[in-house]
Symmetry: C2
Subunit: 469 residues, 2 copies
């Protein structure tokens, strides 16, 4: 019996000391049985679905900076308290809030047609009458990058590259620069506005929003996403001759808007200063009700931690649930890391659920942990739940924990099936009906198993990583 | 060899008289071979898809009464002429054109939320500031009908009954009164506005429009359809307490607007006054580009007739293609029947393709024809194409030929697979990408087989029906 297993068994025995049935010299199977039981309870627990149902129904959209997000913060605090979490509070930060205005686009000229578009988060506004220009259409982003400076002078640049459907979301990663960087790349070549085929895998007239990142020094031009059928329509029309488009966007920015990272904890019994941090983001885009992004994620970590809080005894380490407050515009992770800079060394591991509502099919641990006793035990527990331990280490764990990771915090990635996540991602279609409660519960089960094991053990991911190198 | 088969063989031999290879005493298999060959050519003919692609790309939406529909009429005439149709012309009629305005709805009060709605065709406008009231929500239409007079005074009535998915579209038929008659039923009970769960089988934030029919004498109240996720959201909220909604609709009506039924013919060689009439409707709803409703239908009958026009010899009877001009608001069929009242007795049979772009899975002939020699021969030809002859007679053939049917014209129903037709029907999502060219071509094949057999033979559906009685 390895040291780590002895420690784990001792920890669970200690945690369960009020129940004399678990002896300190119980075989390692005891912990497996305990954690497996936790996972099985998650499969029949309505709490996570109830959480996301209530959030999306009683609040709806909750873009950071809106009154609705402020209400969501109060709602979340009350929920966490009611579920028995401790140290429930909200940590404020300020950020420039981008608020959507009117948005429309049409083909003008002899074949006038409406186009379904939505402004990219962070886009500047057009003139009050919109911007009207001939389009230059590029079938790939590389084609745009290959265009000479000045070649897009006075044009609306349009990139219609397809995003690839992939279970692990790699299609989104590959296409992301089209949305984030495309506006400035087009502006540097003279374009007066920018349109992209939505980063999505559906074929509905519901465009996908998402943030852009203007490049310092490049002109800031208005930018929007076309619904996928509309991008295809533009391709067909552009093949026939010149096409003129008028685009109207009227977003505004509120400097120094308020947001909050909402926190609740299950305090550790033995080593409360050691923290297993799990999170999701409470804010959402404004077009839908943020059911899969990220109502599901906050529901999953809430549901997992709540089940652990309901055990007869607490794990040795503290489990901290963080519901981040401005992920979509990329502000909450940095705010959190900055506020908790001094504490980073005490965060054992961090993970974020922000990839929809479907089942977890694999878990990537911090480097060196997959082949450890911790990894082997986790694998035994999650395999019956339909998830595998991935031998590859987690390269990242979510946007809100990236800054913690940079500060040395080990991260875990519980990979959910994202095959259809980008059908509705960042669209008006991100609503409750897209969530299958059974799949959501499976994700809760795997999260609860990982979280409990990490909190009940004294696994040290930093030293495992160092040893593996 | 039956009389009818002798006649059919003689007819095809006559039609093919320039080609000496088909003898007048050829076995009945010859006609089967000829028509089957026609069907096979349809399966590899890009003409129908090209037609609907061009129509939806170069025109887009074409609600009757809009400038776009006027352009579509010119486009269609040019297409028919270019394809070799004869007697191409457009038959004008006037009607009251309903034109969509602004439309929006939101939940007001402590949990404000946007609702995705679209006005029903024919709805009156709200006040310029909209109508705001508490909702009364009914889970079934029967529940609304059971409400007492006065019980909805000052309320917005909401009916959230689900529409059932069915291959034959019977779910739409069953639910249709909710949209057509619900507004007046609610008004008679005191309601100030009416909302229904869209008649659709999808779960997208794209509401389904469609016409209503106000009842004479009942107050005319504004009426709109909720997207299906929004109807479900209202159900959840209404279960928690009172819900107030503000609805804004600003449609207008243009009296004496112009539309046209576009006609093209393949003149019969022997009995040109005997007419096999096949049609679809050129007008569409305004939210999408009318790809499946009814770009596909006009493309199918165009494609089928064009293939027949391309045969070395013409059938004995005239094939008339009619692209109706105001089906969605129910005006073109009556206009056509009225203009052709004197000719009705010469119309051998009429059929309309207006049920999407998928394959024909069964054919319903006029009463008495299924068991005739004509029916048996048709069955031999369409079975290899993946369609069956339905023993049940066609009860109807499409909205635009209903008035002809009332005037005694036999009708045929080529039933297309409508399993997913109501996912996008009457929504912004009715776009070209929803059409599978291979399935469209199968429909063209079955239509070409039926149309050719009806035009090359002297089948008399009226006498078959009389004999069968």
């Amino acid at each position: 019996m390895s040291n780590i297993l002895r420690i784990l068994v001792a920890a669970i025995a200690l945690a369960a000391s009020a129940r004399a049935t678990i002896a300190t010299d119980a075989p390692p199977n005891s912990l497996v049985v305990t954690v497996s039981g936790l996972g099985q309870r998650a499969l029949d627990d309505p709490a996570a679905f109830d959480f996301v149902q209530s959030l999306t129904t009683e609040i709806g959209q909750r873009l950071a900076g809106t009154e609705a997000h402020r209400r969501a913060v109060g709602w979340a605090e009350a929920r966490l308290k009611a579920a028995g979490f401790e140290n429930v509070h909200s940590e404020p930060f300020t950020f420039p809030a981008w608020i959507r205005g009117d948005e429309s686009a049409e083909i003008v000229g002899s074949v006038p047609q409406h186009l379904a578009v939505t402004a990219l988060g962070g886009s500047v506004a057009t003139d009050a009458n919109g911007v009207e220009a001939e389009i230059s259409l590029f079938r790939t982003y590389d084609d745009l990058l290959a265009a000479a400076p000045g070649s897009l002078n006075g044009k609306i640049a349009v990139v219609t590259q397809h995003m690839v459907r992939a279970q692990d979301g790699s299609g989104y990663g590959a296409a992301n620069p089209i949305r984030r960087l495309g506006p400035s790349e087009a502006a540097k070549r003279g374009a007066v506005a920018y349109l992209l085929r939505s980063l999505g895998t559906d074929s509905h007239r519901l465009p996908h929003t998402g943030a852009l990142n203007y490049e310092d020094g490049a002109p800031r031009i208005p930018a929007a996403a076309l619904a996928i059928p509309d991008a295809e329509q533009l391709e067909r029309l552009a093949a026939k001759g010149p096409v003129r488009v008028r685009l109207l966007l009227t977003p505004t920015v509120q400097a120094n808007a308020s947001s909050w990272n909402v926190v609740g904890e299950i305090k550790g019994k033995e080593r409360p200063d050691e923290i297993v941090l799990i999170g999701g983001h409470l804010d959402s885009w404004d077009l839908g009700t943020g059911a899969t992004d990220d109502g599901a994620g906050v529901a999953i970590v809430f549901g997992a931690a709540r089940l652990i809080a309901g055990l007869p005894n607490r794990p040795g380490r503290t489990i901290r649930v963080v519901l981040f407050g401005a992920e979509e515009m990329n502000f909450s992770g940095a705010a959190y890391a900055q506020a908790h800079e001094a504490e980073a060394g005490k965060i054992v591991v961090a993970g974020e659920a922000d990839f929809g509502a479907r089942n977890v099919y694999s878990v990537q641990l911090p480097g060196g942990a997959a082949s450890s006793d911790f990894g082997r035990m986790l694998d035994r527990i999650i395999t019956p739940l339909g998830a595998n331990l991935d031998r590859r280490p987690a390269l990242g764990g979510g946007d809100d924990i990236r800054e913690l990771q940079k500060a040395g915090v080990p991260v875990v990635s519980l990979r959910q099936d994202g095959s259809d996540y980008f059908d509705t991602h960042h669209t008006a279609d991100d609503t409750l009906d897209k969530i299958d409660p059974k799949q959501l519960d499976q994700a809760v089960a795997v999260w609860s198993a990982f979280t409990y094991l990490a909190a009940v053990s004294d696994v040290n991911f930093r030293s495992l990583a160092a040893t593996a190198k």
